[in-house]
Structure formats: C-alpha cells, structure tokens
C-alpha cells in the first residue's frame, strides 16, 4: 500500500461506454473517504457520435486529495482508455510517467483505423514513457457475465463497471456504496443489475489477483472543517438555491424554460421537486420561457427562466420589458461555447458582455455569477434577493464547467439565511384629484428606488403596466421628453444603488493592499484555477494578489479602490477579454486580459505561467 497526497484520474471512452457514469460513481465513493475533490466531465454534443471515432470520445476527470484542492487538475496521473480513440484524444494531456489502463480488446484493426492509428500504439514504443497496463476488459467482462443469462452484446455494456471496479481497487475505494447503488438503480432489471454487479466485482478482483500492479494506493482523508457534507453539481446546487430562495421569500417558484444544453438539468431537477410547490413550464420556445416567467412575476411568483447562450438572444426583448416594468425575475444563463450553436457541451464565459449590455435602449440589468458548483446555491439566492428587493430582472451566470462538475459542499443551514421580503403593497399609496385613494405603481423607495408593487387579486389596486414609457409615480403612458430622461436615470440609479447593499470585493493580498506585484481579477468559474495559480506563485516566493468578482453589474463599491492599489492587473477569462474591457472602461486602469477560448477551463499551470511572465518582465 502506497500513500499519495493527490491523484488525477481521467476515465475516457466512446460516448456509449458509460464513462460519465463510471466517473460519477467514483466521485461518490471518493467523497465518502472523504477526500477533497473536483471533477471535470467533458463529452461530445452528439448523443451518439460515430462509435469509435475521436469525435465520439467522452471523458470524466476527477482530482482527489488529502488536502484542500480547487481544480480538477491539469494533467491526469491515470488515463483509463476504453478504446483507441480515447487514447488518441487524451494521451497528450497525460502526466509524464502516467498510468494508462487500456482495454486491449478494443484495440483491433478496425477501431485503430477509426481512431486514425496506422499501427497499434500498445505494441510499439510510442508509449514507452508511460506505465501501460493492457487489460482485456471486454473479455473479462463477458467472462464474468457468462452464466448470468445476459446476451453477450448486453454484457459487454457493463465494461465500464469493470473499469470502475479496477480503479476502485487501485485507489482503495469502498465497494459497498457502489454495490448498493447498482442494486437500487437496476432493481427492476435483473439481468442488467446482475451483469453490472458481476463486472464491477470482476474488475475489483482482477486488481487484487492479477499481480499486474505493484501496489494499491491510498489517499488519506482530507481535513474538512466540521460539518455535514454532500457532493453537488452546479446545476443541482443552482436548482436547490432557487427553491431555498422561494422559501425565504415565501413566493411560489415558477420556472418557464425551453430545453437547452447545458441548462436543461435545472428544469429536470425542479420538475421533480413539486413537493416544494414549484411550477415548471416547458414553454414552446425560449421567448415563451422568459415571457411566461414575466407573466408569473406579475402574479407574484418568484419567476425564473433558465437557458444557455443562444437562449439569451431570444429572451433579450422580454428582459428589456421586465426592466421597464420593474418586475423581478431571474434569468439563468449556463454559458457555453458560442457564437451561434458553437460547441454546446463545452464551457465558456463569453456571454458577459451580452448580459450586461445586450438589450436595446437604456436597459440596465444586475448580473451575479456563480464561482463553483456549490456556490451556485448561494448565487441563486442572491440573484433572487436582488430581483425581489429591487423589482428588477437579474442575470445569474454559470457555465458548462460549473454546471456539470461537482465538489464537496458543507450543507448550509437554510433557516439561518436572511429572509427575502417581497414587501407587497396591499393598500393604496396615493390620493387622486377627487380625494379618492388609488394605487400608483411607480412610487419608489427613496433609498433603493424600488417601486411599490401590488399583485392582481388585490381590490382597489387595479393598474396597468406596459412597455410604453410611463410617468414616474402614476405609471400612465407618457411621451414627455423630460419624464423619459428621468425614468432612464431612475432605472439606472436603481441598479447602481445595489452596489451599496452588496459586500465589498475581498482582496486576497498577504502583504496588504498594494503589497503584491500583480493583482489577478477572477469572475465565475475562473476562481478555482486563478486561486490555485496564485498559490503556486506564492509558493515560489513571488507576490501575487487576487480579487474575485461575484457581482458583475453593478461592481462592488470598493472595486475601483482595490484596483487602484496595483500597477499590474491580470484578468483571466474564458472569453476574449470581456470583463477586462469593462474594468478598463469603468476605472481607467491598465488591466491586461489573459484569454483562453478552447471550451475548457484554465489549467493552474496556465495561470501560473501568465503571472510569472508578468513578474519576470517587470
């Protein structure tokens, strides 16, 4: 038994090989050790890309450790390659001296040729710098299922469980949780259950008996702060955050949504949770997703629409109306590679400019971004809080990486989260010329500029709202030039007022403000790689500071001051420099963009190199 402090494993195979499932089960048992962990699922957009081709390769990476980690790891130490295409795609990212667990049965002439190999790499020198284990996974799986009554073709499908069993043995993961899970998950299908169980056990036992491996490895439990933990993906945490917000506001949750990758899982999750009074509506299109949410908002629901890149273009007009009506709604954008259809299953942060600026007319909308899978819970509550308090649409940004990755999460005590007060108005707030009490929908709170909001069904508060410019106060249609200017300013002032209520941006600089040579500014999912990169640079004795932005519009009130302490500012983004441009415009600082647009998150090493580059060239 050898002790390791951390390991990165990548399960890779054809889309039909069940690699996401194997990765997810491995994640669950790893969380039970408990190790700290971070995952990175990466799969093609096609449901079944041509089998055996490099386009059809699906992978799941997990980084687990006995200490606090932030990212899913730059380079895998172990690559499980279920076919030649998986090896072809992922070999270059494997760490030097890394382990390859190859399903040798899949390396036949046809599969090799489909993957673009002219000769079998398992037989030449090509892999001499790695530790290669050639394992007949298909054959052993079929053997294990021989007497189970399963047809060979069906039995072969269980080979992901063989791989999972083998890796579980190598890294001394407990087997019971996986066995329990298989028994429950396939309770109604005896043959599949039996095949999966046998294959899993066969994989585990193969590790133990084959004498192929020098030793097993152990990764000691990480030190977690005391508490109860679970492992969540970003989409699940986000859905739960919306439910928590609904409870905190005592407003029923309404979700209007149209299916789109990678946001659909939020719709799926909320559609299941009807016991929380959630109403989900799969609309006819993205526009109706937003429109139905706005209609539900008018009726007093906590209204949400979820989408990804292309959807926000279609929803833009409705969001502009919501900003104009001053009704709360949350628009969730799980960003993916764009423009156009782009690469639907890959991650990007390229919608930032679109959500901040992308509507006609002067149409300010607050923007909040989740920074990690578990943080999506808190970010969802915060987006709802701002929407309801200020009577405004709010964009909640996540991305494909956060959406599908998972990490351990200390369960929050929801009863301790500050309630959200919708503060509905139930009595008239105005007296008309004839002395009769009436309701004016655009009378505002003097501090927040939020308007007084009455719901249909309330007698005496009947009123009309609409997309035509309206008089401040009364809400009557008005084409008065000065009133329009005032309304534009009021709507802007209302969004700017949010800066007074949100926390100041935190500065992470051990030497105090201005102490470091360079400031890194992260937002959204770049947090993890940037933080890890900054730590590595510091470990080399260099001085780097970091500030992370959860609020992208408006910026925290102290952001200008924080930036002002540093001569060198780096803004790493999975886009071409959108936040960087916004910071330069808002604060006249010489921020520099570190851009990556490959559909993948930053690696720690990339951030480290970028920081060293700036420090070295000083």
């Amino acid at each position: 038994m050898k002790e390791l402090d951390q390991v990165v494993i990548r399960f890779a195979g054809d889309s039909g090989d069940g690699m996401q499932l194997a990765g997810n089960r491995f994640t669950v048992v790893t969380s039970l050790i408990p190790n700290d962990l971070a995952t990175l699922p990466d799969f093609p957009a096609e449901i079944r890309a041509p089998a055996g081709t490099v386009a059809g390769v699906s992978s799941f990476q997990i980084h687990f450790s006995d200490h606090d980690i932030l990212t899913p790891g730059d380079k895998p130490d172990v690559l499980v390659a279920m076919n030649p295409a998986a090896l072809k795609v992922h070999l270059s990212s494997l760490a030097p001296g890394g382990v390859i667990l190859a399903n040798v049965d899949a390396f036949d002439e046809r599969s090799l040729s489909k993957a673009g190999y002219s000769s079998n790499p398992l037989e030449g020198d090509e892999l001499s710098s790695y530790r290669v284990y050639k394992i007949p996974m298909t054959k052993l799986t079929l053997e294990a299922c021989k007497d189970a009554g399963v047809k060979p073709r069906d039995a072969e499908r269980s080979k992901n469980f063989f791989a999972l069993g083998l890796v579980s043995w190598m890294y001394t993961r407990p087997v019971e949780p996986t066995i329990d899970w298989i028994q429950k998950r396939f309770a109604s299908n005896e043959l599949v259950r039996e095949a999966n169980l046998r294959s899993f056990k066969a994989g585990y036992n193969f590790g133990e008996t084959a004498e192929l491996f020098e030793s097993q490895y152990e990764v000691a439990p990480a030190t977690f702060r005391s508490g109860t933990y679970t492992s969540v993906t970003g989409n699940t945490a986000l859905a739960w955050g919306l439910i928590a917000a609904s409870r905190l506001a005592k407003m029923p949750l309404f979700l209007g949504s149209y299916p789109i990758t990678p946001a659909s899982d939020i719709l799926h999750e909320l559609a299941k949770l009807k016991e929380f009074g959630v109403k989900t509506f799969q609309a006819e299109d993205e526009i109706a997703g937003a429109g139905s949410a706005l209609g539900a908002a008018f009726g007093g629901s906590l209204a949400v629409t979820t989408t990804s890149g292309p959807g926000i273009d279609l929803k833009a007009e409705t969001i502009g109306l919501a900003a104009h009506l001053e009704l709360p709604m949350v628009i969730v954008d799980i960003q993916r590679v764009g423009p156009s259809t782009g690469i639907p299953t890959k991650t990007e942060q390229s919608d930032l400019s679109a959500v901040v600026y992308g509507r006609h007319g002067e149409s300010p909308v607050p923007v909040v971004a989740a920074m990690s899978p578990s943080h999506a819970f808190e970010a969802a509550i915060e987006a709802c809080r701002i929407a309801v308090k200020y009577r405004t649409p709010v964009y909640l940004l996540s991305d494909g990486y956060i959406a599908n990755s998972s990490e351990p999460w200390t369960l929050p005590d929801v009863s301790r989260i500050e309630p959200i007060d919708p503060n509905f108005l139930e009595e008239p707030n105005h007296v008309d010329d004839e002395g009769k009490p009436s309701y004016w929908p655009y009378i505002r709170d003097p501090e927040t500029f939020a308007r007084q909001w009455a719901l249909p069904g309330t007698p005496g508060m009947e009123h009309r709202v609409g997309g035509l410019e309206h008089q401040d106060g009364s809400g009557s249609v008005s084409y008065d030039p000065l009133n329009h200017e005032k309304m534009v300013q009021l709507r802007q002032a209302k969004v700017e007022a949010i800066a007074k209520a949100i926390p100041p941006v935190g500065l992470n600089d051990p030497d105090g403000p201005g102490g470091a040579d360079v400031l890194l500014v992260s937002w959204g999912s770049t947090y993890s790689a940037v933080m890890a990169g900054v730590k590595r640079v510091r470990a080399r004795g260099m001085k780097a500071a970091m500030a992370h932005l959860m609020y992208l519009n408006p910026f925290p009130a102290n952001l200008g001051e924080v930036l002002g302490h540093y001569r060198k500012i780096l803004v790493p983004e999975i886009n071409s420099g959108q936040l960087c441009t916004m910071l330069r415009a808002a604060y006249l600082v010489d921020a520099q963009s570190i851009s990556k647009v490959q559909g993948l998150p930053f690696k720690t090493a990339e951030i480290e190199a970028a920081i060293m580059d700036v420090i070295d060239n000083d």
Binding site: V28, G256, A303, L411, P456, P459
Partner: protein
C-alpha cells in the same frame, strides 16, 4: 400568494370598468365598439375588476388594457399569450384576457398563439382581425387577401392568408368563435361564453379599420347585405341565412358542405349546428365555407368542448406530489444525494 378578497359585492356598471385613460384609437375605429361590449359584458355578468387581467402585445388592439380599469399588461409584439400562460399557471384564480390583432397573434406571435390553445390554458384570446397592419400605417397582414394592395404590396399581396378560425381548430382549441364589431349583442354573447369556458377560448372579431382597410368586412357586417352574407351559427339549429332564410348549409352527396337554396334541398337536409362535437372536422369545414369576407361567412361559436385546463392540471400535480411526499423540507433536500459528516 395573495388571497383574493371579494369586494363589497356591489354590482358594477360599464363605467366602473373604464380606466381614466383617454381612448386614443382613430375616430370611427371598430375597436371602440369592442371596448364597449367588453366593459358592458363584464359589468353585466358581475365579474370582479381585481381578479381580471388584460394582457396584450403590440398593435392598435393591444392598447386595449390601458382602457380597462382592471389589472393589465401591455407587453411585447406577439408575446401576450406567453405572458398570459405564465400568469394563468401561477394564478389559476385570475380571469385572464389576451387582446391581440391579426399581425400580433398570427405573424410575430404565431407560435405562442397555437401552443396556448393546444395546452388549453385558462385565457380568453380575443383577436381583432382587420386584415391590415394599422399601427405601422398600412402594410398587409397574415389575414390580408391575395391581391391586397398595401404600402408593402404595391403590386398586390401574393401571400395566402391564414383563416384564424381554421388555424385555431387545427391547434386543438376547445372554444372557437367568430363575431364582428357591428353587432354589440352578438359580441357580448360570444365573449360571455368565452369567459365561462374553461381553458383557452378563441374569439375572432371582424373589426373595421376605417383608415387603412375601410369596409373590408362590409358585405358581412353592413346592415344592407348582412342577411345574404352572414351565416349565423346557433347551436342546435339548422344553419340558415338570407333575407327570408332562403339559403342554408347542407352536406352534399360528395360528402362536403355546400351553400344551398332551401327550396331546392328541403329544410330537413340543412345541417344542424353542433358546437359540442368532439371531432373538430365539421367545425373546420364550416370555417372553410368562405374563402374570404366577400362570400357568405359563418359567424358564431364554431366549437365549444371540454378538456382539462392546463393550469388546473399543473396545480393538481403539485398537490398530488405534496400529498404523497409531504410538503418539501429543504434540509432533507440538501441531504438527498447522500452526506458525510466531519466532526
């Protein structure tokens, strides 16, 4: 959610339903009589202002909510059924009207229009059809007839128009009616029935735009020729029209519906109108009798059948799950995919 409190129960009059906004349609516009019919009907049936919401899109007709002393949203071009869908699902207690036009409902908003009807969501869609774009000053619309000369079709329109009643029937609508702006009583009756109907009601109103498309429906709606061009649909009665009831609708030997002379076929051969037929085929055939408003055209309720209402079904599922699982517990939800504890 706010509980709906009843007002003092006092009867309202038409003027209680009028807002303080000045009505700004062109003098002589058919919209005025529709507004009056709506306000009068709602007062007559004892509807409650606080529970009534008018939702509209964009266009002349879509200014309607501003003139109703109820709750209202003047929304986005074509999107009124989308907003109304969300509101109706969230608030099954409300009485929701969608006011739309031929461009708003059938062109830019075609998708929301058909999906609202197939779902049977609780809303009454009232389409003011004037076969022209009025607010943008005179372009042809998706109901303009082939050959219509408008600002955007100076050599005549080449688009085949939609027949809104046919479209609604094809979209699984459960209540489909047509009326016109020259008969306030008929309008009120059709709107009242729409109000009573559970689910989506669709009412097409032939409405005269006296500025850009004056008289387009005058054969049917004008008092002088109405008898010969307006085919009244009355449930349970033979379909018959003409100054002296000399014409009617009958099914021919070819299996199709035809306009007939009663003296030629005999009264017994006339088709008895049945709005409650589950199969929409006959209603559809009736909607195809006229190729345009210059031929005898059926007016009335084409179809009125029952089907589960969408918002009710959504609420039923929620209640069922709550009943089975109990009201959701957040702490339990957060632990639902397994936990581990560190001391």
């Amino acid at each position: 959610m706010t509980d709906v409190a009843t007002t003092n129960g006092k009867a309202t009059s038409r003027k209680d339903w009028a807002s303080d906004q000045e009505v700004r349609w062109c003098p002589g516009c058919g919209d005025f009589t529709i507004l009056a019919a709506m306000q009068t009907m709602l007062a007559d049936i004892g509807a409650r202002r606080e529970s009534t919401v008018f939702v509209s899109g964009i266009g002349c007709s879509s200014r309607f909510p501003y003139y109703m002393n109820t709750y209202g949203i003047h929304s986005i071009h074509g999107r009124a059924p989308a907003l109304a869908s969300g509101l109706a699902i969230a608030r099954p207690d409300l009485d929701i009207w969608v006011i739309t036009g031929d461009g708003d409902a059938l062109s830019i908003g075609g998708n929301h229009f058909i999906h609202a009807m197939r779902r049977n969501i609780n809303m009454n869609i009232v389409l003011f059809n004037n076969q022209i774009y009025g607010l943008t000053k005179g372009q042809y619309s998706p109901t303009s007839e082939v050959g219509s000369v408008t600002k955007s079709t100076p050599y005549g329109s080449i688009d085949t128009p939609f027949n809104p009643v046919s479209l609604a029937l094809g979209a699984e609508a459960t209540y489909v009616a047509r009326t016109h702006d020259m008969d306030r009583n008929h309008m009120m009756e059709v709107l009242k029935r729409a109000h009573e109907h559970k689910g989506t009601s669709f009412v097409e109103i032939y409405q005269n735009c006296n500025v850009y498309n004056d008289g387009v429906f005058s054969d049917i709606t004008g008092k002088d020729r109405r008898a010969d061009y307006l085919i009244p649909l009355v449930h349970g009665q033979a379909i018959r029209y003409g100054q002296n009831g000399e014409y009617g609708v009958a099914r021919g030997d070819d299996g199709h519906l035809h306009l007939v002379r009663v003296e030629e076929v005999g009264e017994d051969a006339l088709l008895i109108h049945d709005e409650s037929l589950e199969n929409p085929s006959q209603a559809f055939e009736l909607s195809r009798l006229a190729r345009g408003p210059h031929e005898p055209t059926p007016i009335g309720i084409f179809r009125s059948v029952e089907r589960p209402e969408y918002g009710y079904e959504v609420a039923r599922q929620v209640a069922e799950v709550e009943g089975k699982k109990g009201i959701g517990d957040i702490a339990a939800l957060l632990q639902s995919s397994g936990t581990w504890t560190v001391n």
